[in-house]
């Protein structure tokens, strides 16, 4: 195998690919060849690097230099300066918000500095489509150890001792689940990897499958030995075609190398895996529903117990774990339970991947030790809130989770503390919200989501979520009453207690947590008929401040409802009766002018002059 002096690691995760990473990689390949460097410099497409906000991203190895927001046009200059003359290009480096000097090395960038990589240890440094690169970084060492030197009891005991808990949501101890399954007398047994990552705003599982698919395969091989399974399934969401393709390649390569199939590594152990694609149903992320989906049925959940570890796929004992959980296993077996459990808090060990999205400067994927404070994630790693706005809340746990207000920013994150705060670990989506986010609107968003995704099997979830969404819609429209709040709380408890599966049992959380932490916003909508964040359309009015308007015609041209009238250099006026509150005028008005304002409450009503909102608004 030839050696190269420099590796150019181009991020080829979904985020970077969407903004042109492959074009940049092709340009790099061409330029490297044109400069005659093809025997010294190797260009590699890696999995997701995590700092999605800054894509397309390039890491130069071994220099550790981090380039960001690359365009094809930057490539010739970069190759000439950095690779020929040895002068890193400062203008392509990352400049932190509110700083002037760039930070050249990836290791020095705040976003990366506070992270601790176990699951994502190979991110951005290996080509996920080459098994050799995974093996070069100790890949399959743990599988070899487990298959050759460990008994099923020892493997389960090691995983139990590590304190690893399920990373998909509820946080059930993984070792205990395996043990329960291992003890079942019935055979055959099955393994499932739950890659049906449906929580909006969470994309860590996709990233792991895309960036390091072999870590999941290796974890499952170890799990198979622990419970005595010969067959496993990897269920991947249909919206993740790149993940499906990379896992498919990984399976083929593992089979060719004798790491899957008959007599793995000559140990006499047989195990194989199959990919099953999901078909777009949020409920299939629930374990019993997912099992029904693999069986070729509608994804309906069923009553537990019996748990899948007792009676799962085709009625047989089945261990089902989330992608991130599986990807933790190889490191635990290779480095030992004591090492793993030295990280984290009393009840939550190891690390957790969070997707940091929404109103945040550094959008991306971060892996941090359990117990880290929310403040550190949002302000140190995430770089705070853009445009100098104020932090309002962070929503954790997707449609099952809740909104955590700024008073709780010093909360150390683990399973228990989040649950206590009214949120939930969930899969680890963190949606940051600023003062322009309306909490009633967010609660309504999630309830509409769960109502649409409810499979309809049980009444509390099917009917309850619908009723809750209707009440919230009424409040958001300024037509709610104080009695609605009482009804909401009552319904929430019924849905929580009466629903069959996790979807319904947790669906009221976004409502309950916003009611608890942001009750004044609900009251503003009901009593003052005002939306303090200026989001709910029925309660706001757009207005052009005459003293600020320069008459540039921009809003007039961009108004889809032709509601703006005026002439060049004359003050423009919005016809409130025709306005559909789309906000186009607000968005296009130049930052220097800022003549378009939003009003709510008394002033908003006065401006609207009782003008009804057009039907399709």
């Amino acid at each position: 195998m030839p050696t190269y002096r420099t590796h150019l690691l181009v991020c080829a995760g979904t985020g970077c690919v969407s903004c042109g990473a492959f074009a940049v990689k092709d340009a790099l390949d061409k330029e490297v060849a044109r400069r005659g460097l093809q025997n010294e410099v190797l260009v590699i497409a890696t999995g997701c690097n995590g700092f999605c906000e800054r894509g397309p991203i390039l890491m130069v190895h071994p220099d550790g230099i981090f380039y960001q927001r690359l365009a094809v046009a930057d490539v010739p200059h970069l190759v000439e300066e950095h690779l020929l003359k040895g002068r890193p290009v400062r203008k392509l480096m990352y400049v932190p918000p509110a700083a002037e000097a760039p930070v050249p090395k990836m290791a020095d960038i705040e976003f990366f500095k506070h992270q601790r990589l176990i699951v994502l240890r190979n991110r951005g440094r290996i080509d996920p489509e080459k098994i050799e690169e995974y093996i070069a970084y100790d890949g399959y060492e743990a599988a070899a150890k487990a298959l050759a030197n460990m008994t099923p009891e020892e493997i389960s005991a090691e995983v139990s001792a590590s304190g690893l808990r399920g990373r998909g949501g509820a946080g059930f101890p993984t070792g205990r689940k395996w043990d329960l399954c291992r003890r079942q007398p019935s055979a055959p047994k099955y393994l499932i990897c739950n890659g049906d990552e449906g929580d909006p705003g969470a994309f860590m599982d996709r990233s792991v499958l895309e960036a390091d698919p072999h870590a999941v395969l290796e974890g499952m091989i170890i799990g198979a030995k622990a419970i005595g399974a010969a067959k496993g399934f990897i269920y991947i969401r249909d919206e993740y075609p790149l993940a499906v393709s990379r896992v498919g390649i990984a399976l083929r390569q593992a089979r060719e190398m004798g790491l899957l199939g008959k007599d793995i590594l000559g140990t006499g152990f047989d195990f194989d895996l199959e990919i099953v694609r999901g078909a777009g149903a949020f409920v299939s992320g629930e374990e019993t529903a997912l099992i029904a989906s693999i069986e070729g049925q509608r994804a309906y959940p069923r009553q537990r117990p019996p748990y899948p570890a007792q009676r799962g796929l085709w009625g047989q004992p089945t261990v089902i774990n989330n992608v991130e959980t599986w990807a933790n296993i190889p490191s635990i077996i290779r480095r030992g339970a004591a090492w793993f459990s030295s990280l984290g808090t009393e009840t939550s060990k190891g690390t957790k991947i969070f997707s940091l999205v929404g109103k945040i400067n550094n959008t991306g994927l971060v892996e941090v030790p359990m117990g880290i404070r929310l403040r550190d994630i949002i302000f140190a790693i995430g770089g705070g809130i853009p445009k100098g706005r104020d932090f309002k809340a962070v929503q954790i746990g997707g449609p099952s989770g809740g909104c955590i207000p700024k008073e709780l920013l010093d909360l150390p994150i683990d399973y228990e503390s989040l649950t206590k705060a009214g949120a939930m670990m969930g899969s680890g989506g963190m949606i940051v919200m600023d003062e322009d986010t309306c909490m009633v609107d967010i609660a309504l968003y999630f309830l509409r989501f769960t109502q649409e995704e409810s499979c309809g099997k049980c009444a509390p979830c099917r009917i309850g979520t619908r009723q809750m969404a209707d009440i919230l819609a009424r409040i958001a429209a300024g037509e709610g009453s104080l009695d609605d709040l009482r009804k909401l709380e009552e319904l929430a408890m019924t849905v929580k207690q009466g629903s069959l599966c996790g979807l319904g049992q947790t669906a009221p959380n976004p409502v309950l947590s916003t009611l608890r932490n942001f009750r004044d916003e609900y009251l503003a909508h009901i009593v003052d008929r005002a939306c303090p964040a200026h989001v709910c359309k029925n309660l706001i009015a757009f207005f052009i401040e005459p003293e600020k308007c320069v008459g540039c015609l921009l809003c007039l041209k961009n108004c889809p409802a032709n509601a703006v009238s005026g002439e060049r250099k004359k003050v423009h006026v919005i016809d409130q009766a025709a306005c559909i509150k789309c906000g186009a005028c607000f968005n296009v008005c130049p930052v220097k002018v800022q003549a378009v304002a939003k009003y709510t409450g008394e002033k908003g009503r006065a401006l609207r002059g009782g003008a009804p909102v057009p039907k399709d608004a």
């Binding site: 999605c52 997707s355 929404g358 967010i442 968003y445 989501f449 906000g583």
Partner: protein, 172 residues
Amino acid sequence: MAQKNQKTAPPGIAPLADDEGAVVRGVVEKYGGRKRAVIQILQDLQERFRWLAPETLEAAARELDVPLAHVYSVATFYKSFSLEPRGRHLCTVCMGTACHVRGGVAILEHFERKLGIRAGETSPGREYTLERVNCLGACALAPLAIVDGRYHGQMTETKANQVLEALIGSSE
């Protein structure tokens, strides 16, 4: 869902043309005729035909030797299946939470106005289909729209206009 069901197999559907029948047979064979693979089979068929016609579903049920009702129960449950023909161009607007807080709703409404159809609908000449999706996990690009497989991140009304003008120009 109810609307989808109205379209279900009326008596006397035209049988699939021979080559289409062969496609269905081929796909079912690819999965070894396993009944549990019905979801995968429908996905492959939809990729091939762009939607699932009543004739396609009937052929799949026949080849798999399962009741037609079972195939329909699956096809109507999962969102990625379309029981209506889709347009030549597919526009998808992401409605994930990150997109929502960054103004995804306004983007979807803009597409609806510009294309003259609501989310989930296809334009009368089968030129455009507009769909919404619950998060594609590309939240750094929020708000996000996908037009004919190409991702357009940090969408604004102005950007959407440019994308749509190019699209409408290409189909005229």
